[in-house]
């Protein structure tokens, strides 16, 4: 994707150094490191810090489809990985705190070694008590055309590379959880048919509303929270030690998907859009009812059976989605109910 507009001194410094060759940027990276340390000490909340979340988003992007005009050699440049680590530590800590607050008391399966059924039970229980304000009901009943576009803009940050963060976890798993993840991902990637890839279906929905469908086209428009939701997946997917969290994340994502997607589709149908536009949502009603069973029982549950000490991280990943996505939904709803845009103030409303 194109390098986005900077959102503060740190992203400005990063975007200044990336067009150079990695070998020549030592001093600039050290300066960047110091700026981040200072900012981390001062930021009230890293999850909603625009400059830090955009910086992290672009650092992760080097591991996906890259940034235009930036050498691929940066991906594993030690100085830049150090910068990423510097951001990841406090980001993970903030996510753990937010997840714990969102989850409250979680009733854990009794005894040592939870079975996969017990893990699935706990996860379905958590998904079922998610009582936050309902963005999907608003989209179904009330959202205006501009609000539908805003909704797609927020989602586009992830959905145009849908499934990619979790794919990083495949080689970190073995046996039953690995087979489960591959089965889910094969479906996400269209079962061999590129036009049926979920990211391709989402792009089709965007085109149906006359919107740009290139990956990253709307990064400048979304608030830090929308970037944080995707950065969380990259953090979990790219760090082997967090393999429990990425499986919990996927399980919760799937378990809270089927019914909201039915309602999202209804919102677009209400505005007269046909199956070409709603196919993305309709597909998820059916697909995620399959995926939630496999992700809860075979993926997350199977991983806990194989590595019982990962139960806490499975729950962390699951409750972190509830926390961050819940906060994003609340922000969007609150903006709309006050007659405002949920996008960044500096950016004109949806294209």
């Amino acid at each position: 994707m194109k390098i986005p507009e900077p959102r503060g001194p740190i992203s400005t410094a990063l975007f200044g150094v990336l067009p150079e060759e990695p070998g020549t940027a030592g001093n600039t990276l050290q300066a960047l490191h110091r700026m981040i340390s200072t900012r981390l000490a001062a930021t009230p909340d890293i999850i909603e810090d625009d400059d830090l979340q955009l910086t992290l988003f672009c650092l992760y992007e080097l591991h996906y489809s890259g940034l235009e005009g930036v050498s691929d050699d940066w991906e594993w440049a030690p100085g830049l990985i150090q910068v990423r680590h510097l951001l990841e530590g406090p980001f993970e800590a903030a996510l753990r705190q937010a997840a714990a607050e969102a989850a409250g008391e979680v009733e854990l399966p009794a005894g040592a070694g939870a079975t996969s059924d017990a893990v699935a039970d706990v996860l379905f229980g958590l998904a079922g008590r998610d009582t936050g304000p309902s963005l999907s009901r608003f989209v179904a009943k009330k959202a205006s055309m501009d609000q539908l576009k805003e909704f797609l803009i927020h989602k586009s940050i992830y959905q145009l590379k849908e499934a990619d963060p979790h794919t990083f976890a495949i080689p970190r798993l073995s046996g039953r959880p690995k087979a489960a993840l591959v089965e889910i991902q094969a479906d996400e990637y269209g079962g061999g048919r590129p036009e049926r890839m979920h990211s391709a279906l989402f792009a089709r929905t965007m085109r149906g509303l006359g919107m740009a469908d290139e990956y990253g086209a709307y990064v400048d428009a979304v608030p830090a929270l929308s970037l944080a939701a995707v950065n969380m997946m990259s953090l979990f997917g790219l760090n082997r030690r967090l393999r429990g969290a990425i499986t919990g994340h996927l399980a919760m994502y799937e378990m809270t998907s089927s019914q909201p997607n039915r309602l999202y589709g209804n919102g677009f149908r209400r505005h007269g859009f046909d199956a070409g536009v709603t196919h993305y949502f309709d597909e998820h009603v059916e697909a995620d009812a399959v995926h939630e069973q496999i992700a809860g029982r075979d993926l997350a549950g199977g991983l806990v059976e194989a590595e019982p000490h990962l139960l806490a991280d499975v729950l962390f990943g699951a409750t972190a989605v509830m926390a961050v996505d819940g906060r994003l939904s609340a922000h969007i709803l609150q903006s709309w109910e006050n007659g405002k845009s949920s996008l960044r103030a500096a950016v004109p409303a949806a294209a």
Binding site: D117, A120, D121, F124, A127, G128, E183, A186, D187, G191, R196, S257, S258, Q259, R262, E283, V285, E286, A287, D288, A289, V290, E292, Q293, I294, R297
Partner: protein, 71 residues
Amino acid sequence: MNQEPAESSIVVCPDGPLIVRGDFEIVTPSGEPVPRERKTVALCRCGASAIKPYCDGTHKMIKFRTEPPAS
């Protein structure tokens, strides 16, 4: 009994659908294929799905239980 794993399997999900995996077809009583978009499917068994024969997760909202309540 054949010791090889069967070609297909049906996973009986507690309080949820039947996950069918492997080599099979889904047909109407007259033998017409039911549209199918994926290899592994979840078949509704609570009766409340809006996309039958497939599951759409509604069993969670109606608190469908596959085990009789403990007395």
